[in-house]
C-alpha cells in the first residue's frame, strides 16, 4: 500500500525503573538492535525513536523515553511523563530490591500521568537480565500485576534479545486500543497528534516555574 495513505501515529512510551537495571540497554536493543557491555549512565532523560509499520495502513513512531533511574532525578524527569501513552517498568532479576522499587515507580507514574479519558496508562513490567538469572523471578509478581492493573510481564534480556520485541508489541497494542477507543469518543482521528502539540506548547512555562 502506498505510504501516502498510511496513517502516522506518534506514541510516547516511558521506560522507567531503578538505576542500572538496563533501561538504556533495552531501548538500545529495541530501537537499534544492538547491545553493548559498555553501558552508560543516564542523567536526566534520554530519548530514542523507533518506527514500525504496524499494519498496511498504520505506521507508528515510537518515542522511547529513557528516564534516569536515580531517584534524585525524579523531580527533574517527571516533566517527561506528560503525554505518555504507555510505560514499561524495568527491574533487574539479579537484584531483588529493584523489584521492590517497581511499586514505587508505578505509584509515581499513576500519580503523575493518566490517559485523557481517565483510564490508567497501560504498563508492562520487564524482568531484565533474564540471561543471568531467569530462575529468580519474584513469586509475588503475578499477584502484583493483577492487583495493579499491569498489562503483562516478561522475562527479558537485552543482551540476548529475548522477549523485548514481543513485550513492546504488547504494550503498543494496548496503546493502539486506547487510541481507538479515544477516537470513538471524539471521532477525530488526528486527536492524539493535536493534543501532543497543544500540550507541549505551554510546557516551557511549566519547566521554568516547575
Amino acid at each position: 500500500m502506498c505510504d501516502l495513505f498510511k496513517r502516522e501515529l506518534l506514541f510516547k512510551v516511558l521506560v522507567i525503573g531503578d538505576f542500572g537495571v538496563g533501561k538504556t540497554s533495552i531501548i538500545k536493543r529495541y530501537a537499534e538492535g544492538t547491545f553493548s557491555t559498555k553501558y552508560k549512565i543516564t542523567i536526566g532523560a534520554d530519548f530514542a525513536l523507533k518506527q514500525i509499520d504496524w499494519d498496511s495502513e498504520t505506521r507508528i513512531n515510537i518515542q522511547l523515553w529513557d528516564i534516569a533511574g536515580h531517584e534524585r532525578f525524579g523531580y527533574l524527569t517527571s516533566v517527561y511523563y506528560r503525554y505518555a501513552v504507555a510505560a514499561a517498568i524495568v527491574f533487574d532479576l539479579t537484584r531483588p530490591d529493584t523489584f521492590v522499587a517497581v511499586s514505587k515507580w508505578l505509584n509515581d507514574l499513576r500519580d503523575k500521568v493518566s490517559l485523557p479519558h481517565g483510564k490508567p496508562l497501560p504498563v508492562i513490567i520487564l524482568a531484565n537480565k533474564g540471561d543471568v538469572a531467569a530462575n529468580k523471578v519474584p513469586v509475588q509478581i503475578e499477584e502484583f500485576c493483577k492487583k495493579n492493573q499491569i498489562v503483562s510481564w516478561y522475562i527479558t534480556s537485552a543482551k540476548e534479545n529475548r522477549n523485548i520485541d514481543s513485550a513492546m508489541n504488547r504494550l503498543i497494542l494496548e496503546a493502539l486500543e486506547n487510541q481507538r477507543n479515544n477516537n470513538l469518543y471524539n471521532s477525530d482521528s488526528l486527536m492524539l497528534a493535536e493534543e501532543a502539540n497543544s500540550g507541549t506548547h505551554n510546557s516551557s512555562r511549566l519547566c521554568c516555574s516547575r
Binding site: K40, D46, F73, Y75, L76, T200, S204, C208, S209, R210
Partner: protein, 756 residues
C-alpha cells in the same frame, strides 16, 4: 643573453667560475686577474640553470638564477648571465652544474671548509670516510571501512588496533631527516613485506600484494625529493597472516613486522627498513573511539662508508650497519630542536591528520562514550616557559598573577593541569586529612556508586578495568564525598567529575578539589534535592539564548525543545559525561578560573557553533544531535580549542537580572498559589459557618419546641394544682363549717353540763 652578446668584450668583467661537484658546495666567482673571490652562490639556492641554444648566437652563454633571503616572501632573486670566450666550454659548465645538482656530496664537512676542494673537480683521492644518515619512517595502517574507502586504524600504547577480516592498507612514508649527512634520495622501492610476530626470519616475511603494475614500479607511491610515500594492500584472510587475523587473547601481546626495501641513490644494495610493532586484533564489529589515529614513527640510522671511484666521477656508499630508534613518540619529538621543523612539514601532517569529518560519517548513530579522546602531554616550549613564570610568581605572591587568566583560557598544558587545578581551587590540608577518615565510613549510597563506577569514562584506559586502580579510587572518592556531604550524598553525575579529577591527581587531592568545586564553586547547589538551582540555571540559559541566539530560541520554542532536555546533563556534570576529554579538561580549566558563568559561555558557544545544523532539525533530530553529533563534532582538538576561545569571548551579563526574574516568577507562582488557596480557605470557612448556623437554627427550633412543651406542661400542672387548691379550699370550707357546727354543738353540750 642576447643583450650580453651585444656588449663588447672589454665592457664585461672577466671572471673564472668554479662549480662544485656536489649539491652541498658553492659556485664561486673569481676575478680572473687577481684571483680574488667576487661572489659565492650555494648550489641549493640556485633555482634554475640554462644555457644558450646550441648553434645560436647565444651558444656561448649560460645563466643561473639564485635567491637569497630568509623567507619566500622576502627572497631576492638574482639572475647571473655569463659568456664564455670559447663556446665549447659552455657544455662543460653545463655538465658540471648538472652533476652538482644531482650528486650526493662527497664530503660531510661544512660548505665553508669544502670551498677549497670545490675550485675544481680535480682533487686528490680522499680516504674513505664513515658517515651517518638518518631516515624517518612513518607507518600507518588503514582498514576497509565498508564504504569503499580505507580509514586509519586506532593506535595507542599497545600498538595498532586491527579488526579481523577487513582488508587493510599499509601506508609508509619515508624521508631523510639528517641535515648534515649526505643527501640520499630514494629512487624506488621493491616492495612491502609483512609477517606476524617479531624477530622474524627473512624467509618468513610475506611480500604484499602490489597493484597490477608490479612491485618495481612507483605507480602507487609518490616520490618527491623529501618524502617517499608507499602504500600496499594487505588481505588479512590469507593463510600466512592467520595469527594477525584472529582476535588477540586478553593477556597475549601480539606483534607484527613490516619491512620495506628501498633503492637509494648512491647506495648499490637495496636497504631494508624493518619495523616491529605491537598489535592487537579485535572482532570485526569492534569500535574504537580514539580521535587520534596516530601513525607509528621510527627512525633508522644508517652508518655508511663513502667509496669514491678511481676516476672520481662517482661517489657511492656502502651500508655498514643500521640501527633503529624504536618507535618515537611524536610528542617528545617536539622538544628536540633539530627535528621540530620536520614535524610541521606538510608531507607528514597530511598523512597524519585525519579529518574528523570522515569519522563523523563512519561512526553513525552511536553516541560517544564518556572518557574518549587522548590528551597528549606535549606542549610548546614557549608556552611552558610562560607557565613557569606564572607559577613562580603565584608561589611567591600567593595571588593569582595577571597573566594567569589569558593562559588558562588558552588551556592549561596537560602536564601542569593537576597542579594548576589544585591551585586554582585552593587546596585545603584539613580536607586531605579528613579524607583518610571518610573512606573508612559507610555510606547509604554505596550501591548507586558501585553501579556507576563501571559506567564512568569506560572509554578511558585508566577506568576501563573492573577492579582496576582507576575504578577503585573512583569508588573511594565518590563514597568519601557522599559521606562528607550528607545532604547531597552521591548523585549520579558526580562520578564523572571525580573521574576527571582523578586523571590528574592522587585520590586525596582529587577529593579536595571535588569538595571545592561543589561547595566553593556552587556546583553543589545544582545537585541539591529538588534541583531548584539547576532550574534557575536552565532558566538563565533560556533567557541568554533568547537574548543572543534569537533564531535558535524561536526554533526551539516552535519544536518544544526546552533547555533542560539537553543542558541539565551539561551543567550537572560540567560537560564531562559526553564530550571528549581534551574539551572537558579545557572547560574545567576555565571553570576553575572563573566559576559558574563558564557553564553558560560554553553552552552558548556550543549552540552557536551548531546553530545552523540545529535550525534544520525537528524535535527528535535536535535531541539526537545533542546526544550524538555534537560531542563528536568536538572530537578534533582544534575544534575544541576554537569553541573554548569563542566561549571565553561570550559576555554573560544579565545573570543577576535573570536570577531576579526567576525568583519573581517563582514568587508570583507561589503567590498565585497561596492567593488561590486563601480563597479556598475562606470559602471553606464560610461553608463551615453556614453549616454551623444551620445547625444552631435547628437547635433553636428544637429548644423552642422543648420550651413550649415545658411551658404547656407547667401550665397544665399549674391548672391541676389550682384545682387541687380549690378542692382543698372547698374541703377547708367544709371542715370549717363542720368545725363551727361542732363548736356550736360543744357549746350546747357545755351549757347543758353547767346547767346540771
Amino acid at each position: 643573453m642576447a643583450f650580453l652578446n651585444e656588449q663588447t668584450t672589454d665592457q664585461g668583467i672577466k671572471v673564472s667560475v668554479s662549480v662544485p661537484c656536489s649539491s652541498q658546495g658553492l659556485v664561486v666567482l673569481y676575478d680572473s686577474l687577481t684571483h680574488s673571490v667576487i661572489a659565492r652562490y650555494e648550489i641549493h639556492r640556485i633555482l634554475f640553470y640554462a644555457r644558450g641554444v646550441m648553434d645560436s648566437k647565444e651558444a656561448s652563454c649560460f645563466a643561473f638564477t639564485w635567491s637569497h633571503g630568509d623567507t619566500q616572501e622576502s627572497a631576492i632573486f638574482q639572475c647571473h648571465v655569463f659568456r664564455c670566450d670559447i663556446s665549447e666550454a659552455v657544455s662543460r659548465v653545463s655538465a658540471c652544474f648538472a652533476k652538482a645538482f644531482q650528486r650526493v656530496p662527497r664530503s660531510m664537512s661544512s660548505s665553508v671548509a669544502s670551498t677549497a676542494e670545490m675550485t675544481s673537480s680535480i682533487t686528490t683521492v680522499s680516504e674513505s670516510r664513515h658517515l651517518m644518515s638518518v631516515f624517518e619512517v612513518n607507518l600507518e595502517i588503514k582498514e576497509d571501512d565498508g564504504k569503499g574507502t580505507f580509514s586509519t586504524v586506532a593506535k595507542d600504547r599497545s600498538g595498532f588496533k586491527l579488526r579481523v577480516n577487513l582488508e587493510k592498507q599499509l601506508c609508509l612514508s619515508i624521508r631523510q631527516v639528517s641535515d648534515n649527512g649526505p643527501q640520499l634520495s630514494i629512487e624506488r622501492y621493491f616492495g612491502v613485506l609483512v609477517a606476524a610476530g617479531r624477530h622474524v626470519r627473512h624467509s618468513d616475511m610475506q611480500l604484499l600484494e602490489m597493484d597490477k603494475t608490479g612491485p618495481n614500479y612507483n605507480c602507487n607511491s609518490l616520490i618527491d625529493r623529501n618524502c617517499t610515500m608507499i602504500s600496499a594492500t594487505w588481505d588479512p584472510t590469507e593463510s600466512a597472516f592467520e595469527s594477525l587475523n584472529t582476535e588477540t587473547p586478553k593477556d597475549v601481546r601480539q606483534y607484527m613486522t613490516v619491512a620495506v626495501d628501498l633503492v637509494i641513490r648512491g647506495i648499490q644494495e637495496p636497504v631494508r627498513f624493518q619495523i616491529e610493532t605491537p598489535v592487537r586484533i579485535y572482532g570485526q564489529a569492534e569500535r574504537f573511539w580514539y580521535f587520534q589515529k596516530r601513525s607509528l614513527i621510527q627512525q633508522f640510522f644508517l652508518n655508511l662508508k663513502e667509496i669514491v671511484n678511481l676516476d672520481l666521477t662517482d661517489v657511492y656508499y656502502e651500508v655498514l650497519s643500521m640501527e633503529t630508534s624504536g618507535e618515537l613518540d611524536r610528542n617528545r619529538l617536539n622538544l628536540t630542536l633539530n627535528l621540530s621543523s620536520l614535524i610541521q612539514s606538510p608531507s607528514i601532517t597530511s598523512i597524519d591528520t585525519i579529518t574528523p569529518k570522515d569519522e563523523n560519517a563512519s561512526d553513525g548513530d552511536e553516541p560517544l562514550l564518556s572518557g574518549t579522546g587522548l590528551v597528549s602531554k606535549d606542549c610548546a616550549e614557549d608556552v611552558l616557559e610562560n607557565w613557569a613564570d606564572v607559577l613562580q610568581k603565584w608561589k611567591t605572591t600567593h595571588q593569582r598573577p595577571k597573566q594567569l587568566n589569558s593562559l588558562v583560557k588558552l588551556g592549561i598544558p596537560e602536564a601542569l593541569r593537576g597542579e594548576v587545578w589544585q591551585r586554582l581551587a585552593g587546596s585545603d590540608e584539613v580536607l586531605l586529612e579528613k579524607y583518610r577518615l571518610l573512606i573508612t565510613q559507610e555510606s547509604a549510597c554505596e550501591n548507586v556508586i558501585q553501579r556507576d563506577i563501571a559506567r564512568t569514562f569506560p572509554a578511558h584506559d585508566f577506568f576501563k578495568e573492573a577492579g582496576g586502580l582507576g575504578q577503585d579510587s573512583l569508588y573511594r572518592v565518590s563514597k568519601a564525598y557522599a559521606v562528607y556531604d550528607s545532604e547531597v550524598g552521591y548523585c549520579q553525575g558526580l562520578s564523572f567529575l571525580a573521574a576527571t579529577l582523578l586523571l590528574h591527581m592522587p585520590e586525596e587531592q582529587a577529593f579536595g578539589v571535588l569538595v571545592k568545586l561543589m561547595y566553593q564553586y556552587g556546583l553543589r547547589d545544582l545537585y541539591k534535592d529538588g534541583f531548584d538551582n539547576l532550574y534557575l540555571r536552565l532558566y538563565q540559559l533560556n533567557k541568554l539564548m533568547e537574548e543572543q541566539l534569537g533564531p535558535l530560541y524561536q526554533h526551539f520554542n516552535a519544536h518544544s525543545i526546552e533547555t533542560h532536555m539537553f543542558a541539565s546533563q551539561w551543567f550537572l556534570t560540567l560537560f564531562t559525561a559526553r564530550f571528549p576529554l581534551y574539551f572537558v579538561f579545557h572547560i574545567i580549566d576555565v571553570f576553575l578560573l572563573q566559576g559558574i558563568e563558564t557553564l553558560f559561555q560554553v553552552a552558548l558557544a556550543l549552540l552557536t557553533m551548531c546553530m545552523k545544523d540545529l535550525l534544520s532539525l525537528d524535535f527528535e533530530g535536535i535531541l539526537k544531535y545533542f546526544r550524538v553529533s555534537l560531542p563528536k563534532k568536538c572530537r578534533s582538538e582544534e575544534t575544541a580549542k576554537q569553541i573554548m576561545k569563542k566561549a571565553c569571548a561570550i559576555k554573560v551579563k544579565k545573570l543577576k537580572k535573570y536570577e531576579a526574574d526567576f525568583a519573581a516568577l517563582n514568587e508570583a507562582a507561589d503567590n498565585e498559589e497561596s492567593n488561590a488557596s486563601e480563597v479556598v480557605q475562606l470559602q471553606m470557612t464560610i461553608q463551615r459557618y453556614e453549616e454551623e448556623k444551620r445547625l444552631m437554627l435547628d437547635e433553636i427550633v428544637q429548644l423552642k419546641e422543648i420550651l413550649k412543651r415545658e411551658v404547656s406542661a407547667a401550665e397544665s400542672e399549674r391548672k391541676s394544682s389550682q384545682n387541687v387548691i380549690n378542692e382543698y379550699k372547698v374541703v377547708r370550707q367544709r371542715l370549717d363549717s363542720q368545725l363551727n357546727a361542732a363548736n356550736v354543738k360543744l357549746d350546747l353540750i357545755k351549757m347543758i353540763v353547767f346547767r346540771r
